[in-house]
Symmetry: C2
């Protein structure tokens, strides 16, 4: 069975998006710079950064995301849905499964464990990747379900926005560091997850 991976791009001061996320600015107002390492702000992407984002797709068999991430992403992701594999959208508002070329978006209304179970069932032994938003990522972390944390740490202080970590003590072991020009890519194994309800 693959791992459950949280993969997030974060400023050095802990934000995963600038303030005022919306359809017009999915990463918050003036937040594109944060995702410069994948070229979102029009920056040239280094070969190393390209490999790292490609690897995210080759290791992963299914994605899990939150409803707001889906809502603001749907248009920019285009007609093929960008992911090319099964995606599970956590939501309180039921919706029919949406097929966009090789990407399917299944809307899950009965919680994070159900979404994980459904994602694992179709991931073919590959990893399941929680790609955000921060709130969904935290739910998995706080439930003690996460095996690996991959942080793309961007050398800036954003000052405000969506904060990734919101509490709970978790012990980690750093397993990999890759320095690209635009970010420090850190991988951690969760060695002592926060227990549910702690």
């Amino acid at each position: 069975m693959g791992k459950l991976v949280l993969e997030m791009t974060m400023s050095l001061d802990g934000f995963t998006a600038a303030p005022n996320i919306g359809v017009d600015h999915p990463l918050g107002e003036d937040g594109e710079r944060l995702h410069g390492w994948i070229g979102v702000d029009g920056s040239p992407v280094s070969e190393l950064d390209r490999e790292i984002s490609a690897e995210m797709f080759t290791r992963t068999g299914a994605f899990i995301l939150g409803r707001r991430t889906f809502d603001v992403g749907e248009a920019p992701w285009g007609d093929d849905g960008a992911f090319g594999m099964p995606c599970f959208v956590l939501t309180n508002r039921a919706r029919e499964t949406l097929v966009k070329g090789p990407t399917t978006f299944t809307f899950v209304t009965d919680g994070i464990e159900s979404a994980l179970k459904q994602a694992r069932a179709v991931a073919g032994g590959k990893d399941v990747l929680v790609m955000g938003g921060a709130e969904v990522a935290r739910q998995y972390l706080n439930a003690g379900l996460v095996d690996e944390l991959r942080l793309h740490l961007v050398p800036m202080l954003l000052g405000a926005g969506t904060r990734f970590f919101d509490g709970g003590r978790v012990e980690l072991e750093r397993t990999k560091v890759v320095e690209s020009p635009a970010a420090t890519h850190l991988t951690f194994r969760v060695t002592a997850p926060r227990s549910p309800g702690r």
Copy 2:
């Protein structure tokens, strides 16, 4: 002239100490683990970590610290004051200069720029290092006075405590990464400091 350097040990979720800092637990309750890379919690210190903390002293000509850091540190630092060089303590409560062997503690009541000026005057061209607490460090950062940020990023989520960064957008350039067993040591040059009053 040397640089003004902020040097902080921080958990991955942005805390520089656990909750409830006091004389009995200068790093907060159960916060020693955060400073395990320098052996505070009794952990063995790796050769690489030893070099990094030694380098902090050889590059530095004067320290600046906050009054609370001094108050909780005075006893554990012992009779020689631990620093072996001039230290400037920012405070609202005036006090006579304290000499502890090779270390002098000068209490500065007229603000961060005055402390910096006094520190530079005796640093002999070496760096001036702001060693905390977080509040004093942020004052220098927010005033746009910091040249370099050295973060010792510890692979744990502390969940609560003293948060280092509190707002303000600052652009950084990562200049060095060192991976030791206990921490990821990151050095950044401040390329676009937050302007005073912004």
